[in-house]
Symmetry: none
DNA sequence: AATGAATGAGCGTTCATTCAT
DNA sequence: CATGAATGAACGCTCATTCAT
């Protein structure tokens, strides 16, 4: 196995555990046991557990953005494509591994002065907002920038609320509600 | 100090620490040190740390509901009272101690099989939805039940999103956005 | 066993190990195993391993000063009492546990920026110089302060050299040599 | 770079680190990082870390003896040349890299049963005594062997004490004191 | 010869909880 | 009812050394 492969193997293993059980509830020992590697091997690839956390967040984010983008690109232009973010979320929710938003869950676990992880999380959300704005502009014509931003922020908040609340209530009603409200935002 | 006073003192102390620094990041030793009590005293009042967690959640919730209720009751009936939930959140956000939603943050820290704490959190949110529905019905006349629920759920999602995202981004724009969108939901 | 007794038990155990095998070569696990206590018990009595190190140094020092003082007080006043410090060292050297100077050995093991331990060690040596000066003044009459200091410093250096070199060469000739030279310093 | 050059490069690098920060506080990784070589390269040149330690000690010793010899050879014959060892030490002490005696510091770090390193250190000190005796005989005429040894051992102890104590107290007074006492030893 | 990823054993430290007093 | 010393398990991390390439 090549260096980068074992690195990816660690990230995959840790990601599953972090996402399923939480960052602090997942110990290094659990990761190496599941990955089948020695402790020092892990530390040859990552300086600290926090570094693995960053890699985990990036891993989840890039997969998520790719999947979301390809999902909605297959939808017909217009309202359906725009509301596709909620349909995507429905599918995401149905996955047995669904456990809410890794950003929200991780930020709840780390001390407030952990700027590195906080920054990563904030940047991911900013990227999501940026992506949503693209989708808004692609699917609603003749919007002023202010209008586009208003709709984008609304959809973003609804999306985030739907992720968190479907996870919290273990039910998909928040996703349907969010889609309904989202539909009202589109002129 | 009476038995119940000590209990409340422990809850107050633990709540401040849990909310500020997180549940897992706050140790029993820190709590007893700040409360100025002996370790066994704490365990005479609470069976486990998880029990303190439940008490912490209840404590935050009842204070929150009371404050929210009294805040919006002072607002004039109608749209202003309904949107008052977002104005309340603005004030909540401005408090130096603001640190997001205790439910969301706590659920991220506990193992998935901890039903006791999960139930407490779910019930709190259900109570919030119930309360919001009351406010909706009080301030918008002649709503069918379905209409009331639709608006309630929308406001709830926007509120939850605004709490979480203002905390995540360390900025109050999500609260303003949520209020804007919320205003569109009210006929 | 009372709190202070178990504390002293830890100090005794750790002291034997630190002095025999070195500070860094002695692990916490070795200490608790030999002391027959749990790891957390040790950490209830000492904040860090460095704190145990300080206690070890203080323990060795106070025993040493007491033993040295009582040893030379039994010697007749004059040259014999003054040179008694080297006779004391001979006996010290003969003990099977003799392993050189804990100060010199410890300072060699700790990072240069560990001021707490460095200060303790420097203070111990200053106390030794102070004690030696007392003995000099007690046993040589009509010395100016400068003369007393000169003799004191000479004896101190010879003593320290004798401790270190007898340990290094595993032989007592440095003690005899130091005594010989020391004798020449006394008018 | 030739084989022997790499070896010397490793020794130089390791020596600086060992002397500055201690043997146990310097890791193999630190050495190879600073030397800019691969880990296995280091182990092609040295069987174990202890072997590097031996090479480090030899390196320091031979440099030291050469520098000391050439320093005092430039002094005029007689008392000045003999006491030149302390003047040399003054200059040694003034170097920013001064960190006491590598022998004393290393012997404090290794287990008592490490005969290889202990022997190297003892031999270095025996060589120093031998060298000092040469200097004594060169600069004081008509000494019996016993007289020469007595003076040599005295100077040696004073020298060793001065090195260790100047390092411990971070002050040069022990060097001045040692020189003063040394002067009294010379007839 | 040179590489650098992998290792197992150990490090110092923290944790929620128990129990004799 | 209040105490606080003691606990065992787990924590994140470092080490000198080996070995397939």
């Amino acid at each position: 196995m090549k260096h980068s492969e074992i690195r990816q193997h660690i990230i995959n293993t840790a990601s599953d555990l972090f996402y399923a059980n939480g960052y602090n509830n997942t110990g290094i020992n659990e990761i190496i046991a599941k990955a089948g590697i020695a402790k020092a091997t892990l530390y040859n690839h990552f300086r600290t557990k926090d570094d693995i956390c960053i890699a985990y967040l990036k891993h989840k984010h890039s997969n998520f953005i790719l999947a979301l983008r390809s999902y909605i690109e297959e939808k017909p232009k217009g309202r359906l494509q725009l509301l596709g973010i909620f349909d995507f979320l429905k599918e995401f929710y149905r996955e047995p591994s669904f456990n809410g938003c890794w950003c929200i869950r991780t930020i709840a676990e780390i001390p407030g002065d952990n700027v590195e992880i906080r920054n990563e999380i904030q940047n991911q959300k900013k990227e999501l907002v940026f992506f949503l704005k693209e989708v808004v502009n692609d699917n609603i014509k003749n919007l002023s920038n202010a209008e586009a931003e208003k709709i984008t922020n609304g959809l973003y908040l609804l999306y985030e609320g739907a992720v968190g609340e479907s996870h919290l209530h273990q039910s998909d009603w928040p996703i349907y509600s969010a889609r309904d409200v989202g539909a009202q935002l589109i002129p």
